[in-house]
């Protein structure tokens, strides 16, 4: 392992992380809910009266974030290297996996660990583990 010091951004990582944590805390304090994105989106597919609007506006808030950011500063560039076929496969797997596992990076990785949930600790170790393994296989075994 070698550390990519030129890519390492400790300050913005910590600050951005803290902002994410504040958002999750705000959501729990005000609305009594967990800011778990996969659960919020997944719940839209199981429509129940009175349960839709808060999900839709939370998603709208996330989608509006780049626009809001660009009002105050230049948006950081993002790069998606994966091709369309890979994106479709990845999206399908993420969709199925997060719903069976009852959470993703936000619900388990941030909220769950912050709540000291044993389930979320296990889930986070599991998805980070296979995330590491998948990138290893893709980049270093298959050379993609």
């Amino acid at each position: 392992m070698s550390i990519a010091w030129d890519a390492f951004t400790p300050a913005t990582a910590l600050i951005g992380g803290a902002i994410i944590g504040v958002a999750a805390a705000l959501f729990a304090v005000l609305n009594g809910r967990i800011a778990g994105i996969s659960g919020i989106v997944g719940g839209l597919l199981r429509p129940q009266a009175g349960d839709l609007s808060w999900r839709i506006v939370f998603v709208a808030g996330l989608v509006a974030a780049p626009l809001a950011y660009s009002l105050f500063a230049v948006l950081p560039e993002v790069r998606i290297d994966a091709g369309y076929a890979l994106l479709v496969a990845a999206g399908l797997i993420v969709g199925v996996g997060t719903r069976y596992g009852a959470g993703c990076t936000s619900g388990h990785g941030v909220c769950g660990i912050a709540r000291l949930s044993p389930r979320s600790n296990v889930a986070t170790l599991a998805f980070i583990g296979t995330g590491f393994a998948t990138v290893f296989a893709m980049r270093h075994l298959l050379g993609l």
Binding site: G16, I19, A35, V59, L67, G91, V94, G95, A123, G131
Partner: protein
Amino acid sequence: MYTVASFLAGLVFGLGLIVAGMANPAKVLGFLDLAGAWDPSLALVMAGAIAAAAGVFSLMRKRTRSLLGAPMRLPSAGRIDRRLVLGSLLFGVGWGLAGICPGPALVLAGYGLPKGLVFIAAMIAGMGVFEFFESRKRRPEGSATA
């Protein structure tokens, strides 16, 4: 009020993802690539997020109502079962393939990137597959099918 709070929480969450670099799939893959030139940034994103949220969650633990009066719907500790583990293992594979998880996917859609929209469409389709099998399971044996 709940609706405004929801929108704000989503917006602030998204801003955090952008500031943190989590919205950039190339950077996420740099974190997941332990054997390459490893970018540890995302470990600090998680640490920062957990540190900021943990105190508040512990304060809210004994409350039954949120500050706006909504019932607290934080999950109660449950069993570590096969679904949790297999689902999470699977999620990690998908995450590693493209470097995108659900929150950043929505932010990427806000960037107006077609690739972000394609990922989201596939992700929602995947969630639909889950719902399809769940609804079959929930339906009592032998009941009429639609």
